[in-house]
Symmetry: D4
Subunit: 256 residues, 8 copies
């Protein structure tokens, strides 16, 4: 609800083009759609071409399908996270061009063209077991219009695997590091580059990893300056934050 | 240690301009300065005009002074965090243009001109008690060459204070939200903008705030997508991450 | 065991109407019914028309059925929480007018008319996934004789969804906010109204939500004053507390 | 910002009485006062005669004095919590009728008459050491216009002390139980009455009391239904919640 | 390995009745039986008529059967805790007089007569759901030769149920209180009697009960003096401690 | 409030010796003394010759002195725990025979003769640093009429120190083990004897001892059966529990 | 990447035997093999005859098989931990001499002879339930070329079982203690020997064992000096650390 | 108490050289000295030339002095940890050759010559603030007869500082890594060498470092195999464990 909107409405009222009662409705009529069990916020998607995102965990399949249907009707791209194959099968029935990403447990539906960004996001993992979370980050970033590079299994226990790939770090504008166990990758990467580094802790490990708390604490306490941390196993959040950063970079490039 | 450096050295060896022994030294001679108790990394500072940063907590005053001295000699700007007034008085003796920021507990020494960025960083707090941490963030960002806007005491318990300042949110490229107690500010801001939002939890509060863990968890679990969280009371980290993001934005603008 | 009761018994003893031995039994004979595995407290229900409430989790099905049977015999309304469909099927056999509320996992049996209160309780959720817990709250409040309004999926990440429903907040006497993840809804609502706000944290989320601890801490540390918090996923508790409050309000209205 | 306000402004615009530019300012000009370091929300206080409340911990003395000054100028009653004697001495200089409550660490300034409620709030403690927190609750409730009864040192280790005071429980409309150590008082009281019970855990105890977490968990897990819990040592919160409840009760009584 | 034993052996050596080598073996040959995967300590059982106790959880069924077999051969009574029905069926094949206690998940085999103690142990629960744990305590105590009284579902939310059974508390020598959720029963009982009170926290509850930690902390922080706490859901431990206490009481009675 | 009491009063009423009004007062007039800030429970002390116990921490010195005064007037022995020397000096002024136990931070006042028990309590520590807590236990037990033996610095890191003192373990009826750091002493002692073992964890240690939580968990999870655990640093609780056990043993001996 | 390697390459460049471009590749061409989803580090294995180790948990079966295949091709011994029987069956198809260790959940493939060390590693457990973890440690150590002795079920609750086996402790060079519940075994062993003691906490137990945290804390806080602790249930880590220690001992023996 | 000792005594008994009574005393007379408040274990020190170690924290100064005196009388070297300067001054009075190590807070008294080992221990820190803990480790190891190399301020945020010192890692037999904040140093070092790596977490850092828990968890969950972890800030433990390892290495070298 920007000043512009208010000004327009007020001028319409002043000029008699709009009745007071209607103006009041407009001022209150915000752009979301009420399904009863959900209030879909189309506003964000319409504004910047971002897809709508549905977090499927804990939602009934019919609710997910209902939300997807509304989005398809508005022509949005759709991104559904933490979706089981069952949910995908149900969605597929109303959207046969829907794709399922097994590892990342995501559904994507492309209805509008996605132009890939000039600036790159690098998504890295410490180990092979961190790949599901990093794929969630990578696919999220791709659906949000970013060029994404992947670099997997370069954890610090064999530091030469990381150092021999330093070119990839230098070529990216934003780096997402995904790591479980002790999660030290973020610190080492943070010390090697002067770029925004986003850290995604994973629950990979056992015992005193406390379901990912160990990696989370490592990343929050990193001796490398200025690492932005998201929730445990939150690949989506990592990819999304990288996208909002990269979008500002793209915009700056275009404006100038 | 980029490929370029290796190539140059190898070519010099090939052409006989450099002896094998000397080349070996160069390949190993990395740009840090060894004071025994500390190994100062001048590399980063020289490369991008960033000031050197000293974390004072737990360091002996003479060590801090020693490190500052080396930095001054190299012409760097200096930023010292978590510095007591005692440390400042000692630093002042060898650097009379040093400044002390009481609230933020920081020392700054400007030896090189700092050109402020075209894109803005907004630093916000939920309450008055969060100001010391946010000042650390703001001064860090300023020393790293950013234009910084401040917006304080706009916590969610009086949401109209935040909503009436929405223009400031829209004008920034990166937003740093600083909040203690339940730390809900980050979520509300994250839902209002499509910019990178950095969340700095503070230890403000008591009892079940668990020294800031409460605000930290709130920010990590935010229902708003893609918020990057740093350590509790880590204003420096928040300001630094905002700077690395803003720097990529500035660079994109300049390159184009 | 009020003074009145004691006085009556003592007078009966004095007047020789009651033997000492019998008076002793009366003084000790408190109004609960002993099934061996359970001691049913009919006292509360009889006193104020409240239904008996059975917490089914961890109780054998035959025990639940046994307790329900005793209650039906006394003409009480019955409310059973955390009941599986299996338990419901067993209860249904002895009480064919029993109803099952799938989402809320509750069984209700109405034997006495429930007169709805004049003052309203508003039950809100931050997201769609919080609905099961909020339904437990809403149905509990309804069974306890309250008029209940529902407002779902108005979390703070899209604050306009909440602000456009502010009328509903203003019309209620008591508000129950149900939220998982970071649970910030309670703070924002608490800042918007001057009514009793009850906060029910849910376990919705993952990773650092710590099974609902994150939302719980948020609500306990709320910067909005005077929010009353109940246990994680304790919709029943939230609805019950709202009822005891609303009942005092109703009583005050009637007395005057 | 109610519908009424919007309607008035829009009509004034329509009738040409107000310029568009001015109307915009009004729509954004919300009732708080900006001191730079604080944004005082006079709105709440003016609306319902509640005093302004200042949380002093972590605020500089001059800031507290500054805020108090503004409030006095507007004729508000003032309530300052967690105030040291030093802060009180400074406040006293600009408000000689200010009172200091040593045990509760509170400052009160009465500028408007406070009419005590007809319905009573009972504030109870388990032990003598819980009295400071309960006094914070009691004084808060009194400043907010409530009649408050106190009942101290009636913890469950000597249950007869509680049972012999059951009349006091029956006479109150709302009960605030303040307890440290294992905090069992709330459960026992919750089982004895059908009134809203607010539980305030205190940090009284040592070792495995974990600074009050033990009492907090007890209260959240109470087997008595529907107890509303606030933060550890948060006497203010307990008193405030009791007041919002009692205010609805009073209002219901008056309306009828 | 008492002094007596050493003296006997040494005298035998001195008198030449025993060779040095054999004496050495005796001094080291302690009374346990080595099955490879287990070293059964028959010593304790033989000494005081106590049954052998097998903790089944995490042991292979054939290992449990193997241990039981050895015990039967030595004529011991057998007590197996945390045994599934499957384990019982396997044990039954080699010991047809074995009994299974479904609720307590225990197997008992009586080969020697158990004389019940004159002094009584009272085992109480707060709720119906705590019965499995309390049955483990009660059966353990019975197998160890104690007279056991049970008193179930007398939690503090209906304090009259407890108070009307105070005779049972007064008749016991040792009291075991079993409670989940907030576990306040132990405190109230501890305040009513001057006997040893043993508190067994259970994991009954949900959310902030943290799997029984809540009840555990309550019991450790009890304002009633001198309550001895055992591990969560450790009915066996509670029953065993009560037995060691009651055994000293019995012994004192017999000696005099 | 035993049945006997009720019967007596009722008979007096019946026989007209007591008026109804007075009987009511008696029935409610329970044996505690109300000082306003404290309700002293003289009942327990009078019944069994136990001293009154005052927990000084968090109580104002004048309150402690006030409570002591009342107790002295009634001729009770007095035991005050967690008392600073300042409190002692104040108490000394009204009770010149008061003694101060520096290490244990206790005040004792003997007004009635204490007859030491025939059965012994053994108080042991793992290390020298655990002595203050164990002295609190030992003095408590002595004031409650027990013969106490001390055995200090016999921790498991030098197991021979413990084994060479096994006679002392065998001579005691109840054993109190006091240990910090990893607290393994309780397990080893529990495995060596068939007596009640009470475990008192201390906060001795640093880092991952978590202020005593480490020793507490060790004791709760002991592989030795049936150890009763009290709160961290709660020497008083350990001594008190040992006393209630030993008292039952003494009583059994006397009765027979 | 040692100096030697760099020197050789540089000399080759100088002498014109190697082109600059190729030298660059060599300097960067580190000894790992890239499978896309995994980067196998053959370097360590080749250097010292150690087998490759695969952590199977969370890896797809085909990935494990793929990695095993590469290793077999290079002639390495293979050690796979946390492998289910399903994974073993799949591996068996490409390596028919693969062995499965049920209890330890490990797969071993021997392609090179393993010469057992002269110095011994002793692996001990407190209980029978700890055997799976200790077998993981023992087999790891054996595969890494060590002579391993096992000593099981010698926990501190029956200290004589441990003391009668003290010879085995004296014969070992390194001792690995595996224990759950309260984990006191490490402390007692640490006090009996002057050898390196490695402590492996297990998750054996329940309730307040917190999934192994209890045993972990015990070991970290051991009053016996210098015990090295690994993660909960990390038998592999314990065996590996013992091996690296024993290898230095063997090497020292051989060199002299 | 080895077999040898028992054999000797038994033979003396057999040959009549020693009376049974005296033999019994010998068998029980273990080599510790009883000061009442402490039982000094001279056994270990005498056996292997190790100094006695006194943990000063929580011990009265006169107790420390008393223990030191006994040790000096027996000619032992003395090592006192966590000693304040005050304690040192007191010790100095009875041992004028005592030395104080300010940073490490240690007192050393050399009475016997210490021959430095041929094999080296390397003690490393991540940052300057970790030096006090690492000095405790280094001095401990030196007092126990080891050659110690120091390498400080080589944390992973500037990985080149570590890589350029790789020779020092290769020259050591055992490596002790000391690190606070996120503690990632241990993982990187563990991945670079095939030696025993001991990890000492420090409490350096703030906020979510949880007093060193963050670094501790990192080290326990290290993706590098087989790192042995000690308690937070336990430099002594790290140095001691390194010594027991190095001692076995030295012994192996000497024996061969």
């Amino acid at each position: 609800m920007t000043d512009k909107n208010i000004e327009v409405i007020l001028n319409q009222v002043k000029e008699g083009k709009v009745e007071v009662e209607d103006a009041m409705k407009s001022l209150k009529n915000l752009p979301f759609e009420d399904l009863g069990y959900a209030k879909i916020d189309h506003h964000r998607g319409l504004r910047n071409g971002y897809p709508e995102v549905i977090y499927c965990e804990g939602k009934a399949t019919e609710h997910v399908v209902g939300i997807v249907e509304k989005m398809i009707n508005r022509g949005s791209n759709v991104l559904a996270t933490r979706a089981t194959r069952e949910v995908f099968e149900a969605v597929k029935k109303i959207a046969d061009h829907a794709e399922y990403h097994e590892l990342a447990r995501m559904i994507t539906i492309k209805q509008q063209e996605i132009v890939a960004s000039r600036h790159k996001i690098l998504v890295m993992t410490a180990g092979t077991s961190d790949i599901p979370v990093s794929e969630e980050a990578a696919i999220t970033a791709e659906m949000l219009g970013n060029t994404v590079e992947r670099l997997y299994d370069v954890g610090v226990a064999g530091i030469h695997r990381l150092l021999s790939n330093i070119d990839k770090l230098n070529e990216a504008s934003v780096i997402v590091t995904v790591a479980g166990m002790e999660g030290a990758l973020a610190s080492v990467v943070g010390g090697l580059v002067d770029k925004p580094v986003i850290a995604v802790p994973t629950s990979v490990g056992y015992g005193a990893n406390l379901g990912g708390i160990s990696a989370l604490l490592t990343m929050l306490n990193s001796c490398a300056s200025g690492i932005g941390v998201v929730n445990i196993d939150n690949g989506f959040g990592g990819g999304y934050l990288a996208s909002t950063i990269n979008r500002q970079i793209e915009l700056a490039g275009k404006v100038d």
